[in-house]
Symmetry: C2
Subunit: 312 residues, 2 copies
């Protein structure tokens, strides 16, 4: 739940974690996210395909990224190849630019680095077609948002990802919302191959939409990418090698033994509970919010992720 409160624990008990004390007699009160999620059915949650889950071990903890092969299939396939061949093991977080992105990859991949020291890409391709948009397709579920968007004719969610669409061009694309993961590249649009990835850590840089390949979303551990000291070099690159954060390993969850796999469920973005969460956030009716916005922006919506319950 999101609001700046002075007396956190008091409010927690009253409204934020859904205890009914203050408002139980008020039928107009907006349900809390916890109340809505507590009422959700098992069918409203999905277990991401383990082939689409990238598990990255940072010194502070695990980062889990869900890949989006229906939007950027060639890039996702290349990233899977890189990961299977341990490309990212002992690579590093090299850049944290405030209000923009955290980026990771080969520390030698800049002008100061020694090109001869670049880690080989192995079986992965060095160049790929851009994949900045994809054709709209009736088979791809799309849950539209009602309040419009500054950047695109239509926005909503497909398969758990924030998406923009343009019926005029017939194209759809993943948007650069907080926590989305994209592929860094050089000036040539073919130069993105997935060996350098970034996650959005600030206000959604929507001007990047349709200019870079977006390959997924951080499901868990976002705080380990966003809560880092900002780089002081140009573009937020870390100036000293010791400032970089080492990536211990990156693995596909499908390559892990079942017992080692993170047990994660994601609320379906075409579920009734997700719609209810959006409605509740658009129309906050409680004693704290005096002026409910009645609107919501695509990138202001969090898609709930939870630990799956252990199998009985």
């Amino acid at each position: 739940m999101e609001r700046p409160t002075r007396l956190a624990a008091a409010l927690l008990g009253l409204t934020l974690l859904g205890a009914p004390a203050l408002h139980a007699d008020s039928p107009a009160r907006t349900p809390t996210p916890k109340e809505l999620l507590d009422k959700s059915s098992a069918q409203e949650w999905r277990t991401p395909d383990p082939q689409n889950l990238l598990l990255m071990q940072l010194p502070q903890g695990k980062v889990v990224i869900e890949l989006a092969p229906d939007f950027t299939p060639l890039h996702v396939a290349n990233i899977r190849t890189l990961v299977r061949e341990h490309y990212f093991d002992n690579m590093a977080v090299v850049r944290v630019q405030d209000n923009f992105v955290t980026q990771w990859g080969d520390p030698e991949d800049d002008d100061k680095g020694d090109k001869a020291k670049l880690k080989p890409l192995g079986s992965a391709k060095a160049t790929l077609p851009p994949e900045y948009t994809r054709p709209m397709d009736a088979k791809l579920p799309f849950t539209a948002l009602p309040d419009g968007d500054v950047y695109a004719p239509e926005v909503g969610f497909s398969e758990g990802f924030p998406v923009a669409r343009d019926k005029a061009s017939g194209q759809a694309w993943l948007t650069h919302c907080y926590g989305m993961v994209g592929v860094g590249r050089d000036i040539d649009p073919q130069t993105g191959n997935g060996s350098s990835l970034y996650a959005v850590i600030g206000q959604a840089p929507r001007g990047l939409d349709r200019n870079l390949a977006v390959v997924g979303r951080v499901l868990q551990g976002m705080e380990f990418l966003s809560g880092l000291p900002r780089g002081t070099g140009p573009l937020g690159f870390y100036e000293k090698p010791e400032q970089r954060l080492s990536i211990r390993s990156a693995q596909l969850v499908s390559e892990l033994a079942p017992a080692q796999r993170p047990k994660i469920e994601v609320l379906r973005t075409d579920s009734a509970t997700f719609a209810a969460l959006i409605d509740a956030k658009r129309n906050r009716r409680d004693d704290f919010y005096r002026n409910p916005a009645g609107k919501i922006d695509l990138c202001s919506i969090n898609i709930p992720v939870r630990e799956a319950k252990a199998s009985p």
Copy 2:
């Protein structure tokens, strides 16, 4: 400049820092921010009123906040009183909630704290009228943005701050963009007094607009508020006292000797150069951007701040 690039230093030389090598022969190329700022005139920059500058010393460095008395005069006056009486000295950053806010104030100001230990507010008022909006006024400059907004009928900039307006109600208000500073409060709207402040560190939580008093914007040192480990307690509060960040002091710049004052200038938001920066960001025409957005969101615009040149 903002884009996820693989070969940072190479790109820097070519386009990001404005060297003309690659594009000097291309009249259609979008000028870089540096090129635009280099051409700006002295009159396009303003020196904020020292009475509106709050200088906060954190262990990592200085944070400078510009207060906005034309929008929230009573809150700003109360904050000035608190600061003059050293209220924030030895207070702490108590909360960092990912993709939301960093909040600071009295660590005892929660249910686990000992109310008897709360730092007295001194001459400052304990309660204030809400000040969530103010009447529109032709005397207040307003630079409108052209691309609309999900939350408000009209958005733009006044006196260096992002603002929304509604002609139907005749009201204007500061918006919760990245780096904006607001006043935490309890459920009662009168309970905000400025002793607990927060800065936005993620996607603009515009649903808070018109529900909290926004008092200013971080001009410098934002990275010291945003690049902190996230709190692991409910709402992102730090669970252990030793995780909190101590505020060494907070002072009004007007109380400092001239030699000690930070020399800061802010680009006027009603200047031609600011308009050119917005236009350039809306319509990126260069070799990296293949699909310029042609649009821009209020909270995606950075207002340039620079160190003033020394007086001759």
